[in-house]
């Protein structure tokens, strides 16, 4: 029986992306006999991509202008490499190109984008636990609450982790101390990347002091390491970030692959 352990990138592609990207992710998951989503992926999804979609929605509602919203978003977003030469202006021209005159006004476009994002946010939330056969590794300190609009038409931007409660992920991880040591060894060779350096610090801390609590920031820094450690040995880690996941998975005798 083929089994998949779905990471946050594939979850995001399936739930929030459009067109072929979404279809490929969903089709990859359905290609397995069994699939599971760890709650950590749902947490990363809510604290990352979903939060960014909400942020973009709120920009559109607040500015009532697509061009202003894009300018404000671009100030905080690294332009993907594929759009690097043209950046903002090309995006704007593509966004506005082909619209009939009656639909070309900036405020109308802003509303159109806002409705589309709002639909996607709510549809993604509704489907997040239905994408895979099961949802595993519950984390008590992760507080799921649905995205809701306030009286101004803005979604609340929530951080899904409880600041007060101890991180419940630690208990899942320290049971696999040998696995953590192997992860540490791989990360030692990759610590030039800032996110890996942060990850390494937390992994070392968990190995040294398995009973000491980690905080929500450390939990977030663990990222890809969580999937490598928690994935059952007979599961393939399904990810679009093979470069980072594969060495960690292989160190534990597991495997990772791209969707499609």
């Amino acid at each position: 029986m083929s089994k998949a352990f779905v990471d946050t990138t594939v979850l995001t592609d399936a739930l929030l992306k459009t067109g072929d990207v979404s279809k490929r992710a969903i089709s990859a998951i359905r290609g397995f006999d069994y699939s599971e989503t760890p709650v950590y992926a749902l947490k990363e999804f809510a604290g990352g991509p979903l939060r960014y979609w909400i942020w973009a929605h709120n920009k559109l509602v607040k500015t009532r202008s697509l061009s202003k919203a894009l300018l404000e978003i671009s100030a905080l977003v690294r332009t993907p490499q594929k759009y690097a030469p043209s950046s903002m202006l090309e995006a704007l021209s593509i966004a506005i190109r082909g619209k009939p005159p009656s639909a070309g006004a900036d405020d109308i476009l802003a509303d159109r984008y806002a409705y589309a994002i709002r639909i996607d946010i709510l549809a993604a939330w509704k489907r997040r636990r239905k994408l895979t056969t099961s949802v595993t590794y519950p984390i008590a300190c992760y507080e799921e609450s649905p995205p809701e609009l306030d009286g101004d038409g803005l979604f609340a931007l929530k951080i899904p982790c409880s600041r007060e409660r101890q991180c419940a992920l630690r208990a899942h991880l320290v049971r696999q101390n040998t696995g953590l040591q192997k992860i540490r060894d791989v990360l030692l060779g990759q610590s030039n990347k800032p996110e890996n350096a942060k990850r390494l610090r937390v992994v070392k801390e968990l190995i040294r002091n398995p009973k000491r609590d980690i905080d929500w920031k450390q939990c977030r820094h663990l990222g890809d390491a969580v999937f490598a450690v928690l994935a059952p040995p007979d599961c393939v880690i399904l990810t679009t970030n093979l470069k980072d996941h594969l060495p960690l998975a292989e160190a534990l005798g597991k495997t990772a692959r791209l969707p499609g």
Partner: protein
């Protein structure tokens, strides 16, 4: 029977719904100064969760002669009726194998949708559904539409025509059903924005 009970959006109050029906042009979040309405608005039956299935009254049952409803809503209902007629024309043409006629009906539908979008202040579900259909047609061009896509568009437009104050949760379902037929319901350029918002993209 009971008064208006939206299934998802708690900001739509009875007074806001009254304001929308009487055409004061108010948005959902500004109910407090809504003018008085002469009679209770009965939309959903007792115990309704807001679904359009089962005992809910359509707007034509509530107001068979459209008496007492505002100009914006009247305009929306009229334009939605025209849009549905154009979809029906396309269905008829498809049944007769007249692909040019079907395409022409689609063009005529495309022209009416931006006009309906102008009255989106009536209800966000109306705006979201009309936007989804409009985007779907824009993205589909120049490819022909399929019978299942036409049917899904008709269902979406007919539902919002019957229930112009549909909950947003129900609107999400209808838009999802459009996507299930292979339609891309996002405005042009949407993909670029969402690529920016990718996992690693935001600082």
């Amino acid at each position: 029977m009971t008064t208006y009970e939206p299934s998802l959006n708690p900001t739509v109050t009875v007074s806001a719904a009254r304001a929308m029906l009487t055409g004061s042009g108010m948005r959902e979040s500004a109910p407090s100064t809504a003018p008085a309405f002469p009679q209770p608005i009965v939309v959903y039956s007792e115990g309704s969760t807001g679904s359009v299935d089962g005992g809910n009254l359509a707007v034509d049952e509530l107001y068979p002669n459209q008496d007492g409803i505002g100009e914006e809503l009247r305009s929306a209902l009229r334009l939605l009726s025209i849009a549905i007629q154009r979809v029906d024309e396309a269905i008829q043409c498809e049944a007769e194998g007249d692909l040019v006629g079907s395409d022409q009906a689609r063009d005529r539908l495309s022209v009416i949708l931006p006009q309906i979008f102008q009255v989106r202040a009536l209800n966000d579900s109306l705006g979201a559904i009309v936007n989804a259909v409009q985007s779907a047609l824009e993205n589909l061009s120049p490819k022909p539409w399929t019978v299942s896509q036409i049917d899904a568009i008709k269902k979406a437009l007919s539902t919002i025509r019957s229930y112009p104050f549909l909950s947003f949760e129900d609107a999400v379902e209808l838009v999802t059903s459009l996507e299930d037929t292979g339609l891309d319901v996002h405005p042009t350029g949407y993909r670029i924005l969402t690529d920016w918002l990718d996992v690693e993209g935001v600082r």
